[in-house]
């Protein structure tokens, strides 16, 4: 493990969890615009926007060796231009600083959703699949741009071990992302007659995967899979949900109306994820790092209910 690790977005649920896993092993330096609650004493936190010049000063002082870049905004209700600047310009600034101040390792937390669901998708998408996730869901444009930017950074700086992790849908007791919130709905909307296979990973497993990627020797683009694939219907049944199936020619209209009326946080493009396949092949990460998730499918699913 590198002697000191910077975590962007440390005040988020995943960031806090990652800090808790890492702080015993290494010196953790956090960056986030939000304050960090329940901060362990040995964790250093800088309440800063990563676009600010003061970020570089922290790098000058603290000899940071590795960066875990989790701090991307993805709320569909955010101002698009501001989010774009924060995500893309912020990442560029951060990597620029990393290259100038001797950082040896950069880990980006991307997502398997960058590939995008499509009816013609193979059942398991490899890392080489084009990133078409934004075709129908503009919200993924920033993430895809960041993912591609970090890919080019990987080639520009062969001396820095750059890792892009594309985990499947992250769920867990504390995460508040679209898939977790969807599984928490008592009566989730489904698409009548469609039941795609879905892949989930527990938030703690993702943090363990990030910790694994921070170790020296790991470099490249990796899909990160959890314990396996299940039909969406089986996931909802396990959680005791009562799905509301809507026909495919109506569902996007309904979801759009609900979103526009602020009755739900799902933009209509998200319907693709409950209609078509977007599952990935995680074998490369397993082969190169010996990755195994700790939580079973059932534990992962049930975790969305727990200690909220």
């Amino acid at each position: 493990m590198p002697a000191s690790v910077a975590i962007t977005g440390i005040a988020g649920n995943l960031g806090r969890k990652l800090a808790r896993i890492l702080h015993g092993e290494t010196h953790v330096v956090g960056f986030d615009r939000r304050p960090l609650r329940d901060r362990p004493k040995d964790v250093e936190h800088h309440q800063l926007d990563i676009r600010k010049a003061r970020v570089e000063d922290v790098f000058r002082r603290s000899a940071i060796q590795a960066i875990a870049h989790l701090g991307l905004k993805h709320d569909p209700r955010d101002d698009a231009a501001e989010a774009h600047s924060f995500n893309v310009a912020g990442t560029q600034k951060l990597l620029d600083i990393a290259a100038r101040h001797g950082v040896k390792k950069v880990v980006l937390l991307s997502s398997a959703n960058v590939y995008g669901p499509a009816p013609g998708n193979p059942n398991f998408l490899p890392e080489e699949t084009p990133l078409l996730g934004a075709a129908r869901l503009p919200g993924y444009r920033d993430l895809i741009e960041v993912d591609m930017y970090v890919q080019s950074f990987m080639w520009q700086h062969p001396g820095i071990e750059t890792v892009i992790l594309r985990p499947v849908n992250i769920v867990g007791p504390t995460v508040r992302n679209a898939p977790s919130n969807y599984l928490r709905l008592e009566r989730p909307i489904t698409v009548l007659g469609f039941d795609p296979m879905v892949q989930l990973i527990h938030e703690e497993d993702v943090c363990r995967a990030i910790a694994l990627a921070l170790r020296p020797g790991v470099r490249g683009v990796y899909n990160v899979t959890g314990p396996g694939e299940i039909p969406l219907s089986a996931a909802l049944r396990e959680l005791g949900r009562e799905p509301v199936p809507l026909p495919h020619f109506l569902v996007r209209q309904v979801v759009k109306r609900l979103f526009d009326a602020r009755l739900s946080s799902y933009p209509p493009g998200e319907v693709d994820y409950i209609q078509y396949l977007c599952a990935v092949d995680g074998s490369r990460f397993v082969r190169d790092t010996g990755w195994t998730p700790r939580f079973s499918i059932r534990e992962t699913l049930r975790s969305v209910l727990g200690n909220r």
Binding site: N123, L125, P126, D195, I230
Partner: protein, 284 residues
Amino acid sequence: MAGIGEEIQERLRRWTLELGGPGTRERLEKLTPPRNEYGVDPYGFDVDYLQAAAAPVLWLYRKYFRVKAFGLENVPNEGPVLIVGNHSGQLPFDAAMVEAACLVDKDPPRAVRALVDKWVPTLPFVSTLFARCGQIVGTPENCRRLLAAGEALLVFPEGTRGLNKPFSRRYQLQGFGLGFMRLALENGVPIVPVGVVGAEEQAPAFLDIQPLARLLAFPHFPITLTGLPLPMPVRYRIWFGEPMCFTGSADEEDAVLEGKVARVRDAVAGLLARGIAEREHVFW
């Protein structure tokens, strides 16, 4: 599962065993694909679901099309194989019948996965039904992965060109795609040719209304004798030929591969000719 109540599923499963004939239960128990705690394999194939969904297919197999299968011993009991056949009949009952033959008339049975068009996953219910029964979208990645895992794949290289051709072109093989040959060469997999006799007459089509097909995003819109593409009770005769092995590079130019593909096409044509010569009537 997917809207079918437990009771109905159980009843369908009993019907499957009844239609399958004596020993069906024992034979089906030999099917042991990998499955997780939710009963599915990573592709969404569910053997219990298949047993229930197979009932109407088996009824068609035994009672409606009264299928006779010949040469099933040519389908290897294990290991990867590509089963390559003629496609016809407007709706793909031929695929279901070839799969049913490998399931109930072969011992040990084989769960054959048909490669389906990219169009299928856009169809409600059909997409789910197909996935739970082990059918798979025919992308090269999927095929490679399944062949590496030793599975049997059913391919119709004519695609919808064969499926939706008019009655006047029955038993005339349409152009074969080359993809299956590349897969066979790349993975060193034998090809079992199959000729399906009967399906070509099940739903005679006279017209293909392309503008309507485009409007509905269907591959074709055939108009048949009955108006609907529903099959008549023709008798099916399914002829499996001897496995063919090919060697060479999968990366050859199309012209080189076409020669190899032509040999498979000729083998299917030969099986069809034999099947037609030996049958006495379309309906019995």
